[in-house]
């Protein structure tokens, strides 16, 4: 070892320290344990300490002689000043400040610390604090001086082995005081307690003189200790043996944790950088570490860690279950049994803090609040309300903690405390979830499936069609009247096309026309679909509630005959106007079947013709009552498919159309469960019947009411549909012939008669279907009740 030149201050200081460590009073060799503790108090990284020891020759010698000790101390100073450790540095570095050791327990005179701090050059940074000259030091040592040798002054509490070093009083007293260290040390308590991570360890070690091992472990702990950088210890009793006891127990863990966290350097940096009093603040490094750990459990950063996984993870920290349970309570903010990233970071932070000896707060510190966790910015608040709340620490309340805190304190604690609020919180979250799920449920309901409103497609000219659309729109509660026009559900259009192709007597031409006039044809469908969509949306359950006013006007369809007549008159009057038809959705369908109904009435033929022509030109199908079953689309489609297969003729078209219409109403009826539906259906069917030729592209069925039925429902409907179509076909078959022949009036009457009959049949069918469904539901109910009964006995254990 080179010769060591020490200044007077250094000399004295070192001799004091030596005496301190020289518990055996050998004056020659100091106890390794004490030395280690001392070095730990210096808050240097472990490797640095080892390096120092090596450099000073202690490792070589195996003990710390006086010279080695002095050299080591000098190296400590060097290291703390940030200079590289070199053997030469002990002499070359000039004006080296005295090595600083954090005194864990500084009793009285924290205030002198203040003055001290003023003297000291470093503020808030641990490393390299300047220690006032020895005499001042004596005072500074704030009583913790129990270090006799160090302090000439007698006041020192002997018991406080607190290292001769005085913790740099620089750091303004801050939050840490809330950290009640388990302090078994009754000593004056007040002094400063350097809450800095390593700090607290110092005193416990000093006190208990526990094995260096613990110290080592604890020493290692700088790493992610809470950002608490304060040196100043608050009146809280200094950390006690409990801390120590904890440390040894958790030593290994700590070391591992620390190392993982790459603490030392980070710690240093953190310590130096953080000037916040917030001991609970999570630094960037810590946060990053936590995030990485989170990822190992749950790759999705926005996801949750389930309670069981979190339990395993935190159990590894070897904290007592009770404390882990408490940590969980604090960090699971929304009480959902799972940890989000923020919650996980808070929990991890608390675990780390606990391992470092910090007491757990009663309330979650603000900086750890899930939404408040902010890496370096939220430092504002200084201490968390939690700390303020329970710390009750004496005066040292850090000045920073102040006005901003109380407000925050109040809000959060209130939230924390009021169970109702918690309930609402969870309710809110859960409800939001349900809402979202809901929406997702709704969405699929939208598209096609059956909800599509079988917009009757009119064969009227576009203009009329438009008018009809408008009429319908006005009649209905559709909120987006124009949208339907714009929107073209592809499904609908496709179906329409198919239907149209099927339906239109003209077949190809119609189809072509239809396709060409997609815009028009799809409009009613749009409306229908929009209606259905709206319906579904509104109810969050498609089909819920009162089927939103079935498309355009279900009511009007009421008086079928009248409506039909009206329609007819309209048709006649307006020529190709299908406005009337539109007005009465049910009435509409009949119209557009020009082919079939050439006859029934003058109007109709006219209409039909007109329709036909229109269809040929622009195959707009009269939008069969948009109110017709939403699902009817599905059925219609099925029906149309079925019918498609059946017919290929133009001749058959009417039948098909009729069949479809009938089936549609039937299906719609089936679907519909309400009387109103029936009305609509009948209305729909009536016009359907009337039109015969008209293609009920829109399955006239009531549909609107049709709540979203499960496909099962629809399927049977479809089946029935086919059956019914068969029946209807027969009926319809007879009809086509009729229209042609008779005159207007007769045709009208006959048509109405037919319509009524069909309606009756459809209604009857619907009724039977509903009865069947009712039975099924009852059976289900019975089975459920049985299950309940079975389960009940168990509940009575």
């Amino acid at each position: 070892m080179e010769g060591l030149t020490l200044s007077d201050a250094e000399q004295k200081y070192y001799s004091d320290l030596f005496s301190y460590c020289d518990i055996e009073s050998t004056k020659k060799v100091v106890v390794n344990g004490r030395v280690l503790e001392l070095f730990r108090a210096a808050q240097l990284p472990n490797d640095v300490v080892l390096q120092i020891m090596e450099l000073c020759g202690a490792t070589r010698l195996g003990y710390f002689g006086r010279s080695q000790f002095y050299i080591a101390l000098k190296l400590v100073a060097v290291a703390q000043s940030g200079f590289p450790l070199r053997v030469e540095s002990i002499n070359t570095v000039k004006d080296l400040p005295l090595p600083r050791f954090v005194a864990s327990k500084n009793e009285q005179e924290p205030r002198p610390a203040a003055s001290y701090s003023s003297d000291s050059e470093n503020q808030g940074s641990y490393s390299g604090g300047v220690i006032p000259p020895p005499p001042g030091r004596g005072q500074v040592k704030k009583g913790s001086v129990s270090h006799d040798a160090v302090q000439p002054r007698p006041s020192a509490d002997q018991q406080e082995p607190a290292s001769p070093v005085v913790s740099p009083q620089q750091s303004p007293p801050t939050s840490p005081h809330t950290w009640r260290k388990h302090n078994r040390h009754p000593s004056g308590g007040n002094g400063e307690r350097p809450l800095a991570g390593p700090g607290p360890f110092w005193s416990p070690f000093a006190d208990s003189q526990s094995g260096s091992a613990a110290g080592d472990a604890v020493w290692a702990g700088h790493s992610p200790p809470p950002p608490q950088e304060n040196w100043v210890s608050f009146a809280d009793t200094p950390p006690t043996s409990t801390l120590l006891s904890m440390h040894p127990a958790s030593v290994q863990d700590q070391t591992t944790v620390r190392t993982v966290a790459s603490a030392t350097t980070a710690n240093e940096i953190r310590r130096q950088s953080s000037s916040y009093d917030d001991p609970w603040k999570i630094t960037d490094e810590q946060r990053q570490y936590y995030v990485n750990q989170f990822k190992t459990i749950q790759p999705d950063l926005n996801g949750f860690i389930p309670g069981s996984a979190a339990k395993e993870f935190f159990t590894k920290s070897k904290l007592p279950i009770l404390e882990l349970s408490h940590i969980w309570e604090l960090s699971d903010f929304d009480k959902d049994g799972a940890l989000t990233l923020d919650e996980f970071c808070a929990a991890f932070h608390l675990v780390v803090a606990r391992k470092n000896g910090y007491d757990l707060p009663e309330k979650l510190p603000e900086s750890l609040m899930p939404k408040l966790i902010d890496l370096e910015d939220s430092a504002d608040v200084g201490d968390q309300p939690g700390e303020v709340g329970y710390s009750g620490s004496p005066a040292e309340a850090p000045p920073s903690k102040s006005p901003s805190m109380p407000s925050l304190n109040q809000t959060w604690p209130e939230l924390n405390q009021s169970s109702e609020q918690w309930e609402t919180f969870s309710e809110r979250s859960s409800s939001s979830q349900t809402l979202t799920q809901f929406d997702s449920n709704i969405a699929p309901a939208d598209p096609d499936t059956a909800i599509v409103h079988p917009v009757p497609i009119r064969m009227t000219p576009s203009k009329i069609h438009m008018q009809e659309m408008e009429l319908k729109r006005t009649g209905s509660d559709l909120t987006n009247p124009t949208s339907p026009l714009l929107v073209k559900p592809p499904d609908l259009s496709e179906e329409n096309k198919i239907n149209s192709s099927v339906k239109f007597p003209s077949g190809n031409t119609v189809a072509d026309g239809y396709s060409s006039s997609d815009s028009f044809t799809s409009d009613p469908e749009q409306i229908g679909s929009s209606v259905t969509r709206q319906r579904s949306h509104s109810g969050t359950s498609p089909d819920n509630t009162a089927p939103p006013p079935p498309p355009p006007r279900p009511q009007p369809s009421h008086s079928r005959s009248s409506s039909l007549d009206m329609n007819r008159t309209f048709a006649v009057t307006t020529g190709q106007q299908q406005a009337g038809v539109v007005a009465h959705p049910p009435a509409v369908p009949p119209r557009p079947q020009p082919s079939q109904a050439p006859g029934p009435s003058v109007h109709r033929p006219v209409d039909a013709d007109g329709l036909i022509t229109h269809t040929s030109t622009s195959p707009q199908q009269i939008p069969e009552q948009p109110n017709f079953a939403d699902f009817s689309q599905f059925e219609v489609f099925a029906a149309s498919n079925v019918t498609e297969e059946q017919d290929g003729d133009a001749e058959k078209h009417p039948e098909v159309l009729l069949v479809e219409k009938a089936s549609d109403p039937a299906s719609s009826l089936r679907v519909a469960k309400t009387d109103s539906k029936i009305e609509d259906k009948t209305a729909a069917s009536a016009p359907a019947n009337m039109s015969k030729g008209t293609t009920p592209l829109a399955p006239p069925p009531k549909p609107v009411r049709r709540r979203l039925k499960s496909e099962d429902e629809l399927r049977p409907d479809v089946d029935e549909h086919t059956q019914k179509t068969g029946v209807l076909a027969a009926v319809l078959a007879s009809q086509p012939s009729i229209p042609r022949s008779v005159g207007k009036d007769k045709k009208a009457i006959q048509a109405s008669i037919r319509r009524n009959k069909e309606t009756n049949t459809v209604l009857a069918r619907l009724n039977s279907e509903l009865q069947q469904q009712l039975k099924d539901v009852l059976e289900e109910r019975i089975s459920l009740e049985v299950q309940l009964e079975q389960l009940r006995p168990f509940s009575h254990l």
């Binding site: 935190f314 009770l322 969980w328 309570e329 699971d332 959902d336 049994g337 009663e362 169970s419 309940l788």
Partner: protein, 139 residues
């Protein structure tokens, strides 16, 4: 308001019991224990009915000269028993119900804690705080 609050597990052993320290705690413990019989009786009375129909709040179990005992059972047969001072006449049934609701919510929060093993004594600080808040109001 409450003088004693107890949480009894399904197997009728206490998970948590706390009384105002001023009184003889043993007496409260005994009262709670005897009230379990009443609770069981009330539960079995509704046995035939659907469990769902059984209301969780059992109401006044039995009154003594000084105290009234209220009961509450969860669907998992965890019982909450609350002893209230009879002199506190201002307590209405709704208040008791709300107190039980709070108890129940806190209990579920305790359950949600993965570190809590069902059947252990309840040592949650949050639960303690909540119970304290309910008991502090006792005059």
């Amino acid at each position: 308001m409450a003088v004693c609050i107890a949480v009894i597990a399904k197997e009728n052993y206490p998970l948590y019991i706390r009384s105002t320290p001023s009184e003889n705690e043993l007496k409260f413990h005994y009262m709670v224990h005897t009230s379990l019989d009443v609770v069981d009786e009330k539960i079995s009375a509704m046995g035939k009915a659907l469990v769902d129909q059984r209301e969780l709040y059992l109401g006044l179990l039995y009154p003594t000269e000084d105290y009234k005992v209220y009961g509450y059972v969860t669907n998992s047969k965890v019982k909450f028993v609350m002893v209230v001072d009879s002199s506190n006449t201002a307590l209405r049934d709704n208040e008791i119900r709300s107190m039980f609701r709070k108890l129940h919510n806190s209990y579920t929060d305790v359950m949600c804690n993965p570190f809590y093993n069902p059947g252990d004594r309840i040592q949650s600080r949050a639960f303690d705080n909540m119970v304290t808040s309910m008991m502090i109001q006792v005059c």
